[in-house]
Subunit: 343 residues, 2 copies
């Protein structure tokens, strides 16, 4: 059962954040509109859920985009697709009862009439309610499953993580450390370097904006990097690839440094690095791994309650901040997992 | 025991092809020199081997290069590093007896005094002697092990192979077919397209020089490619990546289309393809897999004798053609595995 559950009221209206325009590149505040409507009623097999925390995720950029991607674009005029944690308040589905806390596809809105298909995870673990977005949400389960399934770290391995202070990266570093890795984090400010060391236990943290990144990685990983967990792509990736050990694994979990893929930007060719270093470079999307979600959630809760991993929250308490929240995330303005409390 | 063993004489001098200059890019005839010296004598623990067939391999370009690579550069003035098949004629090593046929690192020369370290494979399988270069050499074992270990083809998969008529690619197609794949070969001439279909059993073969490659792959693999076995890199790779199915495996086995990596050429960024298609892109070098060599050799011999795989030879019978042979290989002038008979 979740703990630290904040107050929430049963509002008489449903506030929604609608996708008003198809964004070019990173979604901006002007691409969204706030609207208010009546609280909907669940039909047979449905339930009414009251959202409590809304998640802000880098992947929302892709969901809002019309470009070919790994999920269908959010319809224009509809509520923005988002992960949230909320509570069932009315139900016509036997498996979902008022008072059940659920994590899933409930969108940027106070209320949603939902079906079972929108549920990702029943929030039963004994962790704070916000932890179901920050730790056991798709970011945390991505960190855990991408690192363990694709990165395959061994004790003594050197693990390099880009966006090391971010919602995924901060957990990757801690999970890697708990598995016996030496951890090196890359991040974009001296403040975040300090948080990587002090809060997320990185052995080394580097501000890639001010450092000579190639020289710095060479210095701190003289025998090469065994696992590179990459959330950025671009020039950070190009540099890191050339500092990998033979047989290293590269986990491609995001490409946050690239503003637009249409047309695709160019960069140095990397196929020779793959060949001569015998890399294994894999792409990870959590939705391929839903069968392992519950196991990952239990393990993350265990690591959290054992003091092995922690998370930071960047909480707004105003739904009106949602429209600009994705752009703020891409600008690196958050300190910890970005969520919006809408109690 | 090998069959189809050609005549060989015990010459009184040792002809050698020496690396005279450090090549820039693809080694040219002018980078080598022919020389003649006395036949050497084996010391304790050594044996004298008479080469019969010399192999010409794309990898020799890397071995001759001073660029950072996965093997130490061939010393200037020394015999060119090469794989060969030969016969022991004199021995001071208990495990190697006159009449033993050995495949290994015996260089472009008539005779070599060798140690056990230079032996890759004892040629015991019942296949033609030249087959120990063309089928059970590093090209064939690369084809078998890279495809099965990294490509992981499943029956019904669509397998795309670049340099499909080459020494590796022609075997990859046939092995893939024997494992139940639909095979698509890319090659550089209409003549080779015909050989891919008639000799190597490709379901589809495409001349990438004259076709609209992207449109052609889209047409023949409407559900995407599941395994891409790439020997070329460059623009063929960029096109193929964008026609892969979700979860496809990319085996990087060579980068033959790229003339020089210093400085690295640029191309479209591919990390977004890795992520959204959830690719697994791996580099393969046979020398990591020596423990599996004998098993692969047995399986290749079995497939050959069962009529499931065949090979073609491009045989010169003049050691004086060796200096220009690597350049000819990169120019695509060979029809089948390029070897030199020096009986």
């Amino acid at each position: 059962m979740p703990r630290d559950i904040p107050a929430y009221s049963l509002r008489s209206e449903n506030r929604q954040v609608l996708l008003a325009k198809r964004p070019e590149g990173v979604p901006q505040a002007s691409d969204f509109a706030l609207a208010t409507s009546a609280v909907p009623k669940p039909g047979a097999g449905e339930f009414l859920l009251r959202n409590i925390y809304l998640s802000v995720d880098p992947a929302q950029r892709g969901w809002a985009s019309a470009e070919a991607n790994y999920s269908a674009p959010v319809p224009l005029g509809g509520p923005m697709r988002a992960l949230t944690i909320g509570v069932v308040v009315e139900s016509q589905h036997a498996d979902y009862k008022p008072g059940d806390f659920l994590y899933g596809w409930f969108g940027w809105q106070d209320y949603v009439v939902a079906t079972e298909k929108q549920v990702i995870h029943r929030a039963t673990q004994d962790i704070p309610l916000a932890g179901f977005l920050a730790l056991i949400g798709i970011a945390g389960t991505t960190a855990y499953l991408a690192l363990t399934e694709l990165g395959r770290p061994k004790p003594g391995d050197t693990l390099l993580v880009s966006t090391a202070a971010g919602s995924v990266g901060s957990l990757v570093g801690q999970i890697g450390k708990s598995l016996g890795c030496r951890t090196i984090g890359l991040t974009g400010s001296d403040d975040k370097v300090e948080r990587c060391r002090a809060r997320f236990g990185y052995d080394v943290a580097i501000n890639y904006k001010s450092a000579d990144l190639d020289a710095e990685i060479a210095k701190v990983a003289p025998n090469g990097v065994n696992v590179f967990f990459d959330n950025t792509g671009g020039s950070i990736l190009d540099t890191a690839l050339r500092r990998l050990a033979v047989g290293a694994r590269v986990v491609q979990c995001g490409t946050a440094s690239i503003g637009s893929w249409n047309p695709p930007p160019t960069g140095p060719r990397n196929e020779r690095e793959i060949l001569t270093r015998r890399l294994v470079w894999s792409g990870f999307i959590i939705f391929d791994y839903m069968a392992q979600y519950a196991t990952a959630a239990d393990e993350l809760a265990r690591l959290f309650n054992a003091g092995k991993v922690t998370y930071e929250l960047d909480v707004s308490d105003d739904i009106a901040t949602a429209p600009g929240a994705i752009a703020a995330l891409y600008a690196g303005e958050n300190n910890g997992k970005k969520i919006i409390y809408i109690g």
